[in-house]
Symmetry: C2
C-alpha cells in the first residue's frame, strides 16, 4: 500500500503494466515451449564475437568509453551509423538528424516526450505492438485504431481518421509487423508520407524487423518519400545483433531530433558508450551483413515449419504468411477464445500471446500471436501439435 498521503501520477490511471511481460513470467517453467515473446534465437546471439569486441574496444578506447559520453552519441558509433544508414537508405542523414538511443523503446519515449500533451490523438495500426501502446498511454495519448488488411494499414481509414481526429502522430511498423507479420504495401508507403504532409501529423516508422527478410525484396521506407520532416524513422540492433545491448537509433527532422536529445539529457543522459562501441565495431568491421546472412536460414526454416503446421489446424483457422520478421498472427473462428484458453495452453506446456492485447480497442479474443524464432524446429513441431489438439478440442 502506498504510504498515506502519497498518490501516483494520473498518467498511470489506465496503465497496469505490460501484459506481455507478465506472460513472460510463466515462460520460466521447465520444458515450456514459448511461442510468446519476440526474442531472437539464442543461437543467433553473437556472444563470442561480442566478448572479443568488448575487450578490444575497452583496450583501445576504454577511458573514453567508461567516461561520461555525449547525449548525441559515442562519436565513432555516430560516424559509422551515419555511413551505414547512407548505404541502406536514400533519405539524408547527418549528425543533426540521427540520435543513438537505448533501444527503440527509448526512441518512442523520447518522441512522445517531445511531442505529446495529455489527450493528444495518436493513430495506431489495429493490431499493433503492445509495448509501444503502453509508452503512448503513459503520455496519456488518445489512441485511435486504424483498421488494417493484408496490405497493412488501410489508407481510406487513415485519411478519414486524420480528417476527423487531427492526430499528432501515426505509429506504424511497416515490415513484418508486430503482431500481424504483415508488410505494408509499397504503394501505401508513399501515400502515407503524403497524408502526413497534408494533414500535418508525424509518422513514427518503427522498423526493427526490416533485415529479417526471408523472401521478396526490400520495399522503400515511408521516410524516403518524406520531403518536409513529417516522418521519424526508428531502427534497432536488437533483432539483428542483440536486444540485451539496448542500442537503436532515431532519424528525424533536425528540430524534432534536437528536442528528443534535450529530453534524453533528462531521461538517461546518454546511451551507454560500451554498447554503442560494440555495435560500432559490427558496422565498422563489416560484421553485420554476414551475421544477418548467417541467422536468416534458420529463422526462415522455423517460420516455414510453423506455417506448415498451421495448414493442418482445424477448418476456419486463418493465419498470415509473413515474408520475414518473428511473428505469425492467427485468427480463429468467431466465438473461439484464445485469451481464455491461454492458461490451458500453458498447463499443456505451450505459451503464446493472446491477440487481444495488441488491439487498442480490445476484443478480438479469437486471435493470437505466435513467435517462431526462439524455439527449435522440434519445439515448433511439438508445440504446434499441442495447440492443434487443444484448438480441435475447443472447437469440437
Amino acid at each position: 500500500m502506498l504510504p498515506q498521503g502519497l498518490s501516483f501520477a494520473s498518467r498511470f490511471d489506465h496503465v497496469t503494466g505490460s501484459a506481455i511481460r507478465e506472460i513472460f513470467k510463466v515462460l520460466g517453467r521447465p520444458n515450456m515451449i514459448s511461442f510468446a515473446g519476440g526474442n531472437p534465437s539464442m543461437a543467433a546471439l553473437p556472444d563470442e564475437q561480442c566478448g572479443q569486441i568488448a575487450k578490444e574496444v575497452l583496450e583501445s578506447d576504454g577511458k573514453r568509453i567508461l567516461q561520461y559520453g555525449a547525449t548525441e552519441g559515442y562519436p565513432p558509433f555516430l560516424e559509422s551509423l551515419i555511413a551505414y544508414l547512407q548505404g541502406q537508405f536514400p533519405f539524408a542523414v547527418s549528425k543533426q538528424t540521427v540520435l543513438p538511443i537505448t533501444g527503440s523503446t527509448s526512441g518512442m519515449d523520447l518522441l512522445c516526450k517531445a511531442l505529446l500533451n495529455p489527450g493528444d490523438t495518436v493513430l495506431v495500426e489495429s493490431p499493433t505492438f503492445l509495448g509501444n501502446m503502453q509508452t503512448l498511454r503513459l503520455y496519456e495519448a488518445n489512441l485511435i485504431p486504424i483498421e488494417s488488411d493484408d496490405g497493412g494499414v488501410r489508407l481510406d481509414r487513415l485519411e478519414e481518421a486524420a480528417k476527423q481526429h487531427h492526430p499528432k502522430l501515426f505509429y506504424v511498423i511497416p515490415n513484418f509487423q508486430n503482431p500481424s507479420g504483415r508488410t505494408l504495401a509499397a504503394e501505401r508507403r508513399k501515400a502515407i508520407a503524403e497524408l502526413a504532409a497534408k494533414y500535418h501529423f508525424l509518422v513514427i516508422e518503427d522498423d526493427p524487423y526490416r533485415d529479417l527478410r526471408y523472401a521478396g525484396q526490400h520495399l522503400p521506407t515511408i521516410k524516403e518519400y518524406d520531403q518536409e520532416g513529417y516522418v521519424a524513422y526508428m531502427g534497432s540492433f536488437s533483432k539483428i545483433i542483440s536486444p540485451g545491448l539496448r542500442v537503436g537509433y532515431l532519424a528525424a527532422q533536425e528540430d524534432i531530433l534536437r528536442k528528443c536529445t534535450i529530453g534524453k539529457q533528462g531521461t538517461d543522459l546518454h546511451t551507454p558508450n560500451l554498447n554503442q562501441a560494440i555495435v560500432d565495431q559490427f558496422l565498422r568491421q563489416g560484421l553485420l551483413a554476414p551475421h544477418i546472412a548467417s541467422v536468416l536460414p534458420a529463422y526462415r526454416e522455423k517460420m516455414e515449419k510453423m506455417l506448415q503446421e498451421l495448414s493442418s489446424f482445424p477448418k476456419g483457422t486463418k493465419f498470415t504468411r509473413p515474408e520475414g520478421g518473428l511473428f505469425i498472427f492467427v485468427e480463429m473462428p468467431e466465438g473461439f477464445n484464445a485469451t481464455k484458453l491461454f492458461n490451458t495452453a500453458v498447463e499443456r506446456g505451450v505459451a503464446y500471446v493472446p491477440g487481444t492485447f495488441f488491439y487498442p480497442e480490445g476484443g478480438h479474443d479469437n486471435t493470437l500471436r505466435l513467435n517462431f524464432s526462439n524455439s527449435t524446429l522440434e519445439q515448433v513441431v511439438e508445440g504446434m501439435a499441442i495447440l492443434r489438439k487443444l484448438f480441435q478440442e475447443t472447437l469440437a
Copy 2:
C-alpha cells in the same frame, strides 16, 4: 524549423537544454583546463579490468546477457546488489524494493513519471544539481527552492515550505552535495524523514558521491530513519566505477518501485544486461572496495590542492570545504559576475560552471562551481592561478 502544423509538447515550454552540457562543448578545445563537469578522473576508470570482465561474462553467460532481460534487472546483479546494500545500509532491501536503473538520471525520470502531475510542487535544495532540475521541469514540476547553510538544507525553511506548498517530493543530495560540496548534518537527516512522514511527501535521497569520502565518517542515510516508505534512495556506480556504463539503482517502497518498474517498461524496457553484469562482477568478486580505496588518495590530494589555491584568492572569496565528492563551491563578493566572466575564463583556458545554473530561482551570479577530479595536480595549480589573476583583475 519544425514542419508546418507540428508543435512540441508544452513540457518543453520552459526547458531549453542542459546548460552544463552546452558548456561541455567548449571543453573539447585544445589545452582547456576544465573545472566544469563532474567527471571522474580518467586515471580512476578501470578500463583494463572492465575489458577483462566484459569478455569473461560474455563467455560465461553471454546468451543470457545478449538476450532480452527483465525490467526488474539482470538476476545475478540484482542478487549481488541486494547483498551489497545489506552490507552498506541498515535499511531493508529486497527484490520488491530495489531496481537497477540506467544511471541515476533514469531513476529521477522514473520517480517523476510515477508520481508527478504537471504543476505538482517539488522542494529542492538551493542550489542543487541542474541535471535533475531539468528532469523535474520536463515533468512540469513547480520547483520551490529551500535555503541551505553549511549543514545543508535548513529544517525550518523545509517545514515552512512543506506546510505552505503541500509538496509531492523533496529532492536532496545528502553527501558532498552537487554543486555545494556540503554534507547534510547528521541530526537533520532523521528530522527530514520525520517531516516527510508528517507532511506526506516523498524524499528522493540522491547519493552518488557517498563513497568518495576523504575525511570523517559515513553519516546515516535519511532512508534508514524512514518507517513507512517516504524515502526513495538513489545510488550510482558512475562515480565509483564508470559513468559511461550507466548503471545505478533505486531503492524505494514496494508500490512506488513497482510503478517505476512499469514506467521503465515503457521507457527503456530494461537496463542493458552487459553493463549490469560488469558491475555485478565488481560486487561479486569484491573488487569495488579496493578500487574505491585506490582512487581516493588522488582525489583527496587534488581537492586539498584546490582548497589551498583558493586560500590565496582575493579578499572576500568564500568557498566550501567538502569532506568528499567532486566539487567546491565558490562565492565571490556581491557584484562580481561569474556568469559573465565565464567566456573570458574560457578564452584564457579555464572552464568552470557559473553557479547561477544551480539555483532554481536564478541569480547568485557571484557564485561558481569548481570540479577538481578531472584535472591533474598541475592543471589545478595552473588553472587556479589563471582564475586568481582573472578574479583579481575583475575586482580591482
